[in-house]
Symmetry: C2
Subunit: 732 residues, 2 copies
């Protein structure tokens, strides 16, 4: 593999490449004691056939594992691209300085005793980073187990995995990047055991300097890289991942800390600020990363990454299930429906059904799932014909072929037919074989070699196919505004930094605004607020009610009066006749009187925007009194376009509510989409940390628009009370 060759330097060397393809490696803190961590990488480099130079470094210069050692890196006479530092924490910075002095560009700091141990370690880690920046050295770790370049046999790691008597490196096109060392190499051992080839393995540890996403981006530059698998507890730098996806390198990630408890544990483990899990979802989705929930699922997705180039530009959505086991077919159908966001059962054409009827006996089934029965399977020609008919159906994007105890010659026949049809049709084929490995020890390898990923159960096979569908879909959805589409709009820091300031330019949205001022600013930004204004006196109130359409809501605007309704500060159904009397009543509460049009009932949505550690997001979901009950909100990182917003609404029950439930008329879907887009645009004028919450936004009948009944703007540091405009409709 080309990636494995030491390049001659014509092409510029990616700065991280020595992590998996170094010309020479110095091991600082080397030891000759059997089992010592300072001996293991040296032993592993020798055992797995690393062809570069291995240079133990230890003060006394005594030999290690039969190799000459050196008193310092500078004393090594050959080029050294990578130094592994395995000394006590307080000696690490000295070792990094020594490496830099010797011209070593990349250092793996394996030593622990840094940020993971608490404040003192954190200070030491910051000093380490500062030193690295000062000297222009890149540092992986600290507190990491090292890296592997499979093609070069570079096991620059001390994971006990590589001590295993039967451990073999399994080369392949996948990169594997993990923040966790133990779990990461555990997963690598499982990948190798199942024959899933990994070209590159990197454990990033504390990520003081080099982060997981930077490593992923660098791996994607390696010739032969077909995809990347990652395990992360904290996320950053997702822009670079989006670029990978855009270039057709699929990425799947297990982001731990989905739950509150898990997120707390992750934060205490890595010290990283946790973004809410829905934000993580949105960020990974935007970056085109497939998110998984378990280690086995991560490896399962790795099994199908090879298929991505073959279906690029096509769609993977409709699935035909072919089986000799009715039970497996049913389970596969269940699984397809469970992944209905990405997959659906194909409807076979009448031609296909007719062709299958000729082949499949009466006790089989030709409807999808197609149960070809064991008798067809035992006749390779018939099986081939059936597969060919299915793969040739224009309504079939992918095939899931399910078998159970498949042994002996049956395996060869099945593989042959599947591989032939797959090659001829270009249709991706996922194989499920629910049976012990020992019944057909070569089956998995044979199938993998034929481009047929194989899984133990229908659930796992279909789940991997759904991931393939996601990867293919993302490849097709690149935005006109660039490959990543992740860059947030420029966020102007204004009001947020000026306590008490009005924030933003004249007419903008800012801090310290009262309800009417905020609504006026929203209106100026193109957002639909109820017609209305402050009435200056009794006569003006009458005029204002007339302006609002003759039927109005009157509200007391009193600083600090949060629960207006309870205080009698809201009067519904005010007419021209009683406007003056109502004005007197509300004015008596000691503030101004706001008169607004009476908005009829509609679908109550919420629209918002907020800053998160992963960027600014916009959200839309079910609002009003159901906000917490349904808790059904979709969110996306900015920027968003109309298609994104349509998709967000579709993801929530808003789509049903807007379509009209129980005989209600359809609501003005487009007006809600416009409102979300306007909020997304408005966010560019909001200071960092601002949180805008419009809830409820009442979406009226089709053609009648939407109205923002309640709006709140929270700014950091200002502790501004949120505006609380009670629901006009509730009538409390």
């Amino acid at each position: 593999m080309e990636a494995g060759q030491v390049s001659s330097g014509v092409r510029e060397r990616p700065s991280l490449r020595p992590l998996w393809d170094a010309r020479g490696i110095a091991v600082v803190g080397a030891s000759d004691r059997p089992g010592a961590v300072g001996r293991l990488p040296i032993q592993f480099l020798q055992r797995y056939g690393y062809a570069g130079g291995i240079y133990p470094v230890r003060p006394d210069g005594a030999p290690v594992a039969g190799l000459t050692s050196y008193p310092s890196i500078g004393a090594v006479p050959e080029p050294v691209d990578l130094a592994m530092v395995m000394v006590a924490a307080d000696k690490v910075i000295g070792a990094v300085r020594e490496a830099a002095a010797a011209g070593v560009p990349v250092v793996i700091v394996c030593s622990s005793g840094f940020a993971e141990t608490g404040e003192v370690g954190q200070v030491l880690q910051e000093e380490l980073v500062a030193t690295a920046h000062e000297l222009g050295v890149r540092v992986l770790g600290p507190n990491c187990i090292g890296t592997v370049g499979t093609a070069t046999g570079q096991v620059s790691s001390f994971s006990p995995l590589f001590s295993g008597a039967s451990t073999q490196l399994v080369p392949g096109g996948l990169g594997f990047v993990s923040q966790s060392g133990a779990l990461g190499y555990g997963a690598v051992s499982l990948a190798f055991e199942r024959g899933l080839g990994l070209g590159w393995v990197v454990n990033t540890g504390n990520e003081a300097d080099i982060g997981a996403t930077e490593v992923m981006a660098a791996l994607a530059e390696e010739p032969g890289c077909t995809g990347i698998l990652g395990y992360a507890e904290s996320l950053g730098g997702l822009d670079s991942l989006a670029a990978l996806a855009a270039r057709g390198i699929p990425v799947a990630m297990l982001k731990a800390g989905r739950s509150d408890a898990g997120a707390r544990a992750a934060a205490s483990h890595t010290g990283a600020l946790a973004a809410g899990d829905k934000v993580v979802d949105a960020a990974l989705r935007r970056a085109g990363v497939v998110r998984v929930d378990d280690i086995e699922e991560l490896l399962d997705v790795g099994e199908v990454m090879d298929l991505v180039p073959g279906v690029r530009g096509k769609t993977v959505r409709t699935v035909a299930i072919v089986t000799t086991s009715g039970g497996s077919g049913i389970l596969a159908a269940d699984a397809v429906e469970a992944h209905d966001r990405h997959l659906q059962l194909a409807t076979l054409s009448s031609e296909t059904l007719a062709a299958l009827d000729e082949i499949v006996p009466a006790y089989g089934a030709t409807a999808n799932p197609v149960d070809v029965t064991a008798s067809v399977m035992s006749n390779p020609d018939l099986f081939d014909q059936a597969l060919t008919a299915i793969a040739g159906d224009a309504g079939v994007d992918a095939i899931v072929a399910c078998f159970c105890v498949l042994a002996g010659k049956d395996v060869d026949d099945v593989v042959e037919a599947l591989a032939r049809v797959r090659a001829a049709s270009g249709v991706p084929v996922i194989v499920v074989r629910t049976g012990a490995d020992h019944l057909a020890p070569e089956a998995a390898a044979t199938m993998r070699a034929a481009g047929l990923p194989v899984f133990t159960t229908p659930v796992r096979g279909v789940r991997a196919l759904a991931a393939l569908a996601q990867m293919v879909e993302h490849g097709k959805r690149q935005r006109p505004d660039g490959p990543s589409g992740v860059a947030s709009p420029p966020v102007r820091c204004g009001g947020g930094d000026r306590p008490g300031g009005q924030g933003g330019p004249s007419g903008g949205v800012g801090a310290g605004m009262d309800e009417r001022e905020l609504k006026t600013a929203l209106a100026a930004a193109g957002l639909p607020v109820p017609v209305g204004r402050i009435a200056t006196d009794r006569d003006d109130a009458v005029t204002a009610v007339a302006e609002a359409g003759g039927r109005a809501v009157a509200k007391a605007v009193v600083p600090g009066l949060l629960h207006k309704s309870d205080a009698g500060g809201v009067v519904l159904n005010v007419t021209v006749e009683d406007a003056a009397e109502v004005f007197d009543r509300l004015a008596a509460l000691g503030g101004q009187v706001l008169v607004e049009e009476m908005v009829p009932g509609g679908v109550e949505a919420l629209v918002g925007s907020a800053d998160t550690p992963l960027g600014r997001i916009v959200s839309v979901g079910v609002g009003g009194i159901l906000t917490e009950v349904i808790a059904d909100v979709a969110l996306r990182l900015l920027p968003v376009d109309r298609a994104d917003v349509e998709e967000m609404i579709e993801e929530t029950r808003l789509s049903q509510l807007l379509a009209g439930v129980r005989g209600q008329a359809p609501a003005d879907h487009d007006a809600l989409v416009d409102t979300v887009l306007a909020v997304a645009e408005l966010t560019a004028t909001l200071p960092a940390g601002a949180e805008l919450d419009l809830n409820p936004v009442t979406v009226l009948a089709q053609g009648k628009g939407a109205r923002i009944l309640d709006a709140a703007l929270a700014l950091p540091q200002l502790e501004q009370p949120e505006h609380d405009i009670p629901d006009q409709i509730a009538g409390d």
Copy 2:
């Protein structure tokens, strides 16, 4: 194992026992041709050490696999408990007659060509069943692959699994019952491969006579049976399963056909009527059966069944996670939260935390998940101390211990400490080892032998623990009304069989009732309906409004007028003053005028009951216009008690709505519970097939009760129009 011995007959022989423990087996349709299905069971019985008699039966009496064959079963001179019939479909009934004549009590019909092939086969199958009933012979199958008694080496099956060169039977306490042959034996092969012992395997095929649940009940009678795993596409006879759970034999089942597509495929595969998936959930839950979604999950649950007796009577809910891998700990915490219906992270006591602080270094973590770090792990005493402290915490019900690449002596140390602490404390311990098997080939077996089930990933380990929690919980929740609690109340078949009849006794609920009659009947059954009655004339309308509290809803009751609101047939807020005028207006529509109290706004619920293939159910959920949007309904098979109904409400968002959202006052939770219980009781008076749908049931403020605003009763065959009483509150 005792189960494996041929009993002397002192204890009465369960009628199905020959399926796994026959004294002699006749194979009808035996063949000497290598690979023939008529030879395989004979070969397998020999290979796996079956000690009973093996009697090939073939017309020509030629030897088979070196054994003497017989021209008929009757010619066999020794006792025959079991006949395997492997002849063409049209000869099967003759073979069954022959078996019966020879006094064979149980026959396995392996032959296909019955109901699975269509109508002709269905007729043949019915004839087979009739013959079996007539002769008093029990029939397994047809269209099945046979059975296995592991302890006796009775492989009365022709599954290719048993041809595998490395296949070995792994005895154990679990029974495995599958409707599907191919998938079932595929799963068995996976169980044996991972060392999960199965004492009994039965493939039920078409289930013409013997069904899966009957087999499960029979297996539970076997000494040494610790639990049962099942795969089913259709369900029946769940009462017998409930009895098992009550006796402490846990049952887990993979019921395929969860999705619509899957259910259709299952129906076409087995011809069985599909009950809705939520009904299947309710039925399995009532029977105490753990439902799983995948074959691997089924086997994973099998791994923890052994633990059930040890925790019987206790609770398994709070989980302490102990790990040497921060990442695994986070994933385990995520998984615990994902199973929050059954599990939660334990809060460690201050004493435990103090003890751990003494042991765990600073870079570990003592909060749950407890990251003891590799340094503690490498010191068996410290690890033991940490475990002991955790297991001794009264707030810890179970421990999940997560490791990664665990090899060599580490495995022994870990197992020793975990086993010791587990034995001393009685706290169940689940082990997760995310690493290749070859790194510690004996690890799984060593751990299993020590009562420590081991899983590859935290997600799988915690999922299995959640199943254990369910099994233990069910064992504790046996009902006072008997071990099963499944028996439905007697359903009186009445109105449903009498087209046009009034159904039920005087005062009961029946067909042909108009809105007021139905509500009166509901009221008579103790259900809360709005105060109201038919007003006979203008003056009476005034009286009726006064009776209803002076503020009423008036409705036209006109046969066939379904959309009253649209037709102006509903007037809200009727007072004594305008009652007469409103009466005139509604009476002009041509029917009667119903005057009901005006029910204020409240939480809208739905309450219903219906018959399903698995029994009669009662349901409660979010009602009103949100019914379809939220689609959040809990259901249970009858009977239900107050605790069940509380639990049903808790399962849905009703619990939040009733508690009061966005500042609303709490609603009358108890009134809703009473309503559901009254409906459950009322169902005893409803004919078979009746479907009662109360929606909305408005639940008022605490102490104010609930009111059934709309009620519909559907009866089979009558095609009666449903009553449609519009929501009083919507005001449309």
